[in-house]
Amino acid sequence: MTVPDGEGSGTWMRPYTVTNGRTHPTTALQLISMVRTTGRVPPERLGGEHARALQLCHFPTSVAEVAAHLRQPVAITKVLLSDLIDSGAVTTRAPSATAHSTDLLEKVLDGLRQRL
């Protein structure tokens, strides 16, 4: 499940080493910004944590989900993902305010009602 187990705790202890101490991403990312691989950069060409991040976004995935699966803090994940965006390995889409249109909300409502 989601709680990091004992042996995995090394990544929690030294999070900033995977970003060389950087704490600010070059691209502004939100928790629900979506990311997806472009397929243009093979993971083998990347360092371990970047490669793992890249492999987590074959399908459109939120920043929060990548962070959870990487077991890295959100801030670290954003730096890793923004590196991948800079190198053309990943593309992103920020949430937009127009998404809250009546039309789309009606669709969300329909979808939820079908789950009852």
Partner: protein
Amino acid sequence: MVSANGSDDFPTQFKILIAGGFGAGKTTFVGSTSEIEPLTTEEALTSASVGTDSLEGVENKATTTVAMDFGRITFSLHNLVLYLFGTPGQNRFWFMWDELSRGALGAVVIADTRRLQDCFAAIEFFEQRGIPFLVAVNEFDGSFRYEPDEVRNALDLKANVPVLLCDARDTRSATGVLISLIEHVLSTSQACPA
């Protein structure tokens, strides 16, 4: 290749917050509505509050983390995805709420009838930010039963804020709360168009 707007086959994403006091049933609610096992992310306290690029001392300071759990519901027919974020229950993590609430569609405030006052802070936060919310009264076994109107009075809620009874453990009940929230969002946005 992706087109210039980068939107090709990305789903449109939405976010709802699940708030409430410590132990009110937030994680339970996320779990019973989400299509995936709730996931956890950690936000490091000091990296957010110190705001420096300097490596010096960061490793030592970045030890306090806030866990947030979240779930997901996808509606593939319309290429939409809804994320549900449980907010950290403890008040000392208020700073997290700013990022969490940015762009949120609305919020469910879970009220625990054994400690109604624990959700005052969340209610005040959403009122101040103008984020549409409703109050879901999670009735724990053996706890005092309130009528929705009694909760409304006790929490000093405006007349248009929906108050529902729910069982956070029950998928139908919790999903019904989400439906009511979207209906509430739709009715408030129609009442005062942006």
